[in-house]
Symmetry: C2
Subunit: 145 residues, 2 copies
C-alpha cells in the first residue's frame, strides 16, 4: 500500500507521455501526404507564421534545442522548404527563412488540422479545458509570443 505512489496508474506524467506519442502517431498518415514528420510540421507552422526566425527563437517557440533543430532544418533546407543564412548583424545568429515552395506547402497542410480533429473523441469544452491545463503547466517557461 505504501508503494501505491509508484503505480503507473497513479501517475499524471504517464498518460501525458503516452497520449503525446499516440497523437503524433495519428498525424503520421496525414503528414506523410505532404512529406513532413510531426516535428518538421510544427517547425513549418512557425515558419508560415513568422516567415523569418533565428534558431534560438524557433527553439524557444517549440521547446526544442539546436541538437534537434540543426539536423531537422538541414533536411527542410534540402527539401527546398526553408533557407539557412547567417545574420549580417550578428554572425552567431542563423536566420531561417521560408521559400516559395515552403509557402506553397501551406495549402495542402491546411487540411491536416480538420482531419485530425475528427480523430479526437473530446467535446469542444473538453478540448478547451485540456488546452488551458497544458498551457498552465508550460507557462512557467513560456517564451514564444
Amino acid at each position: 500500500m505504501e508503494y501505491d505512489v509508484l503505480k503507473l496508474s497513479n501517475q499524471l506524467c504517464f498518460p501525458l507521455y503516452a497520449c503525446s506519442r499516440e497523437i503524433v502517431k495519428k498525424y503520421k498518415p496525414f503528414l506523410d501526404e505532404i512529406g513532413l514528420t510531426y516535428t518538421q510540421y510544427i517547425a513549418m507552422m512557425v515558419m508560415w507564421e513568422k516567415k523569418t526566425v533565428n534558431v534560438k527563437t524557433l527553439g524557444e517557440c517549440l521547446y526544442l534545442d539546436s541538437g534537434t533543430l540543426t539536423p531537422l532544418l538541414k533536411k527542410l533546407e534540402a527539401a527546398g522548404l526553408v533557407t539557412r543564412e547567417r545574420s549580417e548583424k550578428d554572425e552567431r545568429n542563423l536566420v531561417i527563412g521560408i521559400t516559395e515552395k515552403g509557402e506553397s506547402l501551406k495549402e495542402p497542410a491546411k487540411t491536416v488540422p480538420e482531419k485530425m480533429a475528427s480523430c479526437m473523441n473530446l467535446s469542444m469544452e473538453e478540448v478547451s479545458t485540456l488546452y488551458s491545463l497544458l498551457y498552465k503547466i508550460l507557462k512557467a517557461d513560456e517564451v514564444c509570443e
Copy 2:
C-alpha cells in the same frame, strides 16, 4: 485568416507534445539519482507491480513496441534489475522478471513521485481533470488493466 487553423497556438497536440517533454525533463535529476531514464522508470513501475510480464504485455501497458523495449530491457538486464527468459510453454514469449536488486530499487524510487508533485503548479482538482481527459483520449486503445 483562413490559415488560422495552422497557427501553432491553435493546436491541441502541440502543448501536449511540449508538456510531455518538459515533464520528462523535470524527472531527469531525480531519476539520475537512481540511475534510470524516464522510459526505464515507467518500465520498472510495471515490474514492481507485476513482478513478471512478457514483452508484449509490457508494450501494451506502456504503449511501446519491441523496437523500443528490446534494447531497453537488455540494459535493465545488464544493470541487474530484471531477468529475460523464454517461456517454457510458448517459446515465442520472452518473460521479464524482476530481480532482488530490482525490487530494492523501489525504496529510493518511492521518493520520486513526491519530489515531482512539488514541481507541478496545478491544484488537486486540476490534476484530476487533466488525468481524466488524457485517459479519455487514450482509452480507445486501452489494454493494460
